[in-house]
Assembly symmetry: C2
Homo-oligomer: 780 residues x 2
Amino acid sequence: MGSQSQEGSGSGHRAILDSCPSGLQPSHALVQKRVIGSWPFSELSGTGGKGGTLPGSPRPFQSRQAKVKPEPRLGAGLTRSSAPVPATGRSQEEQGLLGASGADGLQATATLDGDPYGSRNRSTSDLQPLLPLKCELLHVAIVCAGHNSSREVITLVKSVLFYRKNPLHLHLVTDAVARSILETLFRTWMVPAVTIRFYDAEELKPWISWIPNKHYSGLYGLMKLVLPSILPLSLARVVVLDTDVTFSSDIAELWALFVHFSDKQVIGLVENQSDWYLGNLWKNHKPWPALGRGFNTGVILLQLDRLRQSGWEQMWKLMAKRELLTLQATSLADQDVFNAVIKEHPELVHPLPCVWNVQLSDHTLAERCYLEAADLKVIHWNSPKKLRVKNKHAEFFRNLHLTFLGYDGKLLRRELFGCPSQLPAEAEQLQQAMAQLDEEEPCFEFRQQQLTVHRVHITFLPHQPPPPRPHDVTLVAQLSMDRLQMLEALCWHWPDHPPHPRLQMLEALCRHWSGPMSLALYLTDAEAQQFLHFVETSPVLSVRKDVAYHIVYREGPLYPVNQLRNVALAQALTPYVFLSDIDFLPAYSLYDYLRASIEQLELSSLQRKAALVVPAFETLHYRFSFPNSKAELLTLLDAGSLYTFRYHEWPQGHAPTDYARWREAQAPYRVQWAADYEPYVVVPRDCPRYDPRFVGFGWNKVAHIIELDAQEYELLVLPEAFSIHLPHAPSLDISRFRSSPTYRDCLQAFKEEFHQDLSRRYGAAALKYLTALQPSQSRA
Amino acid sequence: MGSQSQEGSGSGHRAILDSCPSGLQPSHALVQKRVIGSWPFSELSGTGGKGGTLPGSPRPFQSRQAKVKPEPRLGAGLTRSSAPVPATGRSQEEQGLLGASGADGLQATATLDGDPYGSRNRSTSDLQPLLPLKCELLHVAIVCAGHNSSREVITLVKSVLFYRKNPLHLHLVTDAVARSILETLFRTWMVPAVTIRFYDAEELKPWISWIPNKHYSGLYGLMKLVLPSILPLSLARVVVLDTDVTFSSDIAELWALFVHFSDKQVIGLVENQSDWYLGNLWKNHKPWPALGRGFNTGVILLQLDRLRQSGWEQMWKLMAKRELLTLQATSLADQDVFNAVIKEHPELVHPLPCVWNVQLSDHTLAERCYLEAADLKVIHWNSPKKLRVKNKHAEFFRNLHLTFLGYDGKLLRRELFGCPSQLPAEAEQLQQAMAQLDEEEPCFEFRQQQLTVHRVHITFLPHQPPPPRPHDVTLVAQLSMDRLQMLEALCWHWPDHPPHPRLQMLEALCRHWSGPMSLALYLTDAEAQQFLHFVETSPVLSVRKDVAYHIVYREGPLYPVNQLRNVALAQALTPYVFLSDIDFLPAYSLYDYLRASIEQLELSSLQRKAALVVPAFETLHYRFSFPNSKAELLTLLDAGSLYTFRYHEWPQGHAPTDYARWREAQAPYRVQWAADYEPYVVVPRDCPRYDPRFVGFGWNKVAHIIELDAQEYELLVLPEAFSIHLPHAPSLDISRFRSSPTYRDCLQAFKEEFHQDLSRRYGAAALKYLTALQPSQSRA
């Protein structure tokens, strides 16, 4: 957990540390012996990829081992061929990993004042630790709750994946929100050699909710205390990370530090890089007890097996209860409790080199660490201000972080060469299907795009699901940054709308539709960050918690329009959905009108299968005053300021709506399906999905309406409903369609495949759709 | 140099290698001794940041050194405190760095068949080499010629910078093109702790041009042979890299391998990962002589001092001449010569672990290397197909490469904490100026943008300068991706122009302007790659070698319009420039007409200071037929299909052009400057620069015209010249300007500062421009 911003300087613990001789040099043999003797390796072989030494690898160091007299259990449990040997030519104590020198290990803590770690006045660049075996599985535990932490954790995971060379098992303690986000993300990410296990944070609350807590991390921070109790018993070691850390090195190097734990040490921590625990920051500042500056719990190595043996659960509870007799609450959540325990039991802690948790709080003392280190390993954004923290070198650290914030996650789908069973089954199948595609086939690009599984980050921003109401409707649409940029101008000209740099269409839409929305956005990782910034600074959008934004990450040359629609549709939480497009503005009252219509038509009670048609219009002018009623709309229509949608280019798309009848209609009326009909409709949430074979331009909505008709949805036009399309430049895919005969041929081929599927599913009833397959002239 | 694609498998050298016992285990002490004894460190202290051991660092390993009996010169030359100790607990021979075991070092070569390197059947993850001292300067030499290699080398350099923790000195052997590109780039990149020295490739040509060469790298590949002769005598060691390699690790780890050279070894190389040199790929395939599979020269460690002592220059020349008696030419450039020398003098080579040069040619055997390695260090795209090479794992390697291709170079402006004098003087000043800005000041964002130095990559694509002609004119303009995307639609509607996904405006412009152009593009690194792809696949643009594209990398929130114009202007190579904007299409004949006018007006011979005005018009319609003559234009104007530019919103911008007079004019006529005048003009290349204080929207051209008038340029309107503005959505900056009073206030402040500067420079003559400073109403 992060420390709060703090000031002042302490000397309280200097006395203790100064008692540690600066030139500590226990004999090399002794250190080795202790390390060897204290290392229970048996667990590792259970969790690692291939346990044991690799066959055929020479082990010349065995002769040196012999000299240091390993204890008997070495032979039985050793699974790391190189474990007993120090990481570099230097002896261990040189590396500041002095814990092994016995129960007085604490004296060797890397502190900001003393320097027994050896990180100061010396190059640390040659202090390369041993790394785990190739293919050894590393375990990482993270507590993550809510939308914002889920975004944070993904950046953290990206940084870990970028440098990692080992398989990873992530143990994620999540609330329901984070779980659904991360489950979807990792399923669609398909990173080789990464496995995930979720733990329900809700179930853990009773374990820690009795502890009053003032830290911004809330109850979730405290959950790190119970990890030894909830992680699988078979798990011996785990790295625990806060969501606000960024890796700048291979996590295997951190994992490798377990090897230096003495047999009493069970918790690896970096010293706190502030004076918070010295307790003199302000009048009546009473921090929890800690050894000197205490330790920061943003990065923890937990030796779980021995923690459990030592009665950790009793220990921390006892300590927390005792302190809470005099202190009202924890200020820094779990970190206060960890420190209180360590103060009482200093033998439990194994101090880690400061570079493994460079803490960037406002008044951090971290500079003393990183100025001398050759190499930063982990950055910890432990100020509540996060990246906006004031720090002389903030730019430097932000640059490291920004690298991963905007990093294209798909580049991390890198296999680990030579490690077994790296891919999830789904990814394996996909890879095979991809491999079977013929690169020379004219529609190769389409087929590749159809098979592409895009990473999906649902509810990218905080979202409050609408309260359950039987007739509620969610507007469902999809969009890309390109489209939004093209629409920018348009919104500038829009009356009532103050100009905003981009995504203004979204703001306009929000003004027109007061109900819930589920929007899929097709973006790069970098664009997703721009989008985030836009929404957070938009007065219109930032207050709308009922709009769910789902990021579908870009991959491939064709716009996966129906995959996007399906993502947005799957995430709609109301019983009904309005399937719209982003360049349409609905009538101001449409949301209320639709709910009233659903109720009046008794759709839900009658289980009536209906698709309510919202008639579509368009304006060709930038400057245009949106009609407040059907009457106003008709006036504009008569004046030639509005047209029925695509009246000029593609009349059959909406002609079956029967605009003449709509003009006069007072009540909903039924219309019949006809070829190429593609109205905007309101349907139950469990309606058929869109057919993902239609990527790019053409037939993507038409096929969906056929599907509805084949499933016998009534098409009912609503007499007061309308929405209006705003002008914009044609999409990239339209241009391609128009210019490329191959594109048109491929579309025709997919239509035919679609019809074959229809026939299979609906038999003779699907015959009538055959007409819809004739290549149409007007479209091109 | 890359090897060409090749097939077949060889056994010719297996006999040699098999003679090397697979379980080689010389005594630990012996190896250490040899390493220590063979390492001439004295040079290092001259080139490194701080030579010698750092003060205050304990050296407990000295006791172990004593045991291995260092030779006398150790004490004198040793500048690496940790050099004599093996990198990991394993002994050196375990790490496959067996060169130290004596003159028979070659037997320890890491080969694809034998395995004395130890990279097979074993985890290499624990083979962490020693690293150089913190702040030690590492030297890298690269030969780079032409536009495409310059782009390549930047991606290479980004990958090196991403992982590096040491100061770097780059020795770049360049032709004139690469030099001007890279000089500008590094000057504007301002990466801390990177110094550059250029060497003129032209001067080296006589040294190697006598060698016939069939390789695609041409003469430049061969230049690696002469590096020992041209690099400074004070330089003892250098890493030589091909431009087509990508780093995936810290280059210091590669540098650290020098420590393992025996005293005879002078060249560190990775084995060639193909069967090329085995010589049985096809009938009459006669490769140059090599030891077994030979070595690949994409990554070379050169021990320069000893190379020079050993008479390298004579040696390789002799060998090349001898071989050329029977072989017609080198096939793989320098690589053939290196291999011929090594075949004759195997004691010279120090074999490097295969991961330091993973060669991705078409029929590579590299898989044998990387499947077993825990960690790839350097990827070598040594197929002429580069990233399009066919390889089972191509996706994996491309992902690594794409990481750096699109990586935002500004994130690499990271300081090296704790290393002295990291910043170039210019960057230092800039940093100080930035630090003096007041974040609370309302115009802070503007002032920050004004100070921002953007990375500039001139002539991003191959470019042929126009032949020198006294009246030639270059069209100068600037643009961003946003603008191009907005213009996409527009070009779709344009008659004659086949639709293209984006940047179509550029194509349209190319059809209208047949002369040279110098265009500044404001892009991110990722967008620059998209742009490259667009131009390369555009039939219109790919053939135009007289269009120079200069990438100015995005940084900051405001569009640095005048900085962009200055970049494009500075790169124009003709005596005259037409200062235009990207959303204007010039009359079809304008290029010819302008040259004729310059000649007729005798501007160059009379040294007449004139700015030729090209009258500006606009259309508000997407569908519009471009006039073929002034007569046609006038017809459209009378029909209301065209307007004079900004007739509705900003008439004073062009009113002084006097359109009524232009209508009738048969000859150029002079007009007077008036407030807010901003015509498009043709001026000599050495005209005043644009004022970079105007960032974002407003006054950026107005100030430039004032400057021309103040310097007494005549304003002459050309009677047959015109260009037409095409409609598009307003820019982001216009929106901001219109919506933000602060924005308008800041612009006013900059106008006033501009006028103060004018008064200082032009005295009373500048008084008349004061009127231009009144805040104008119509603009907002």
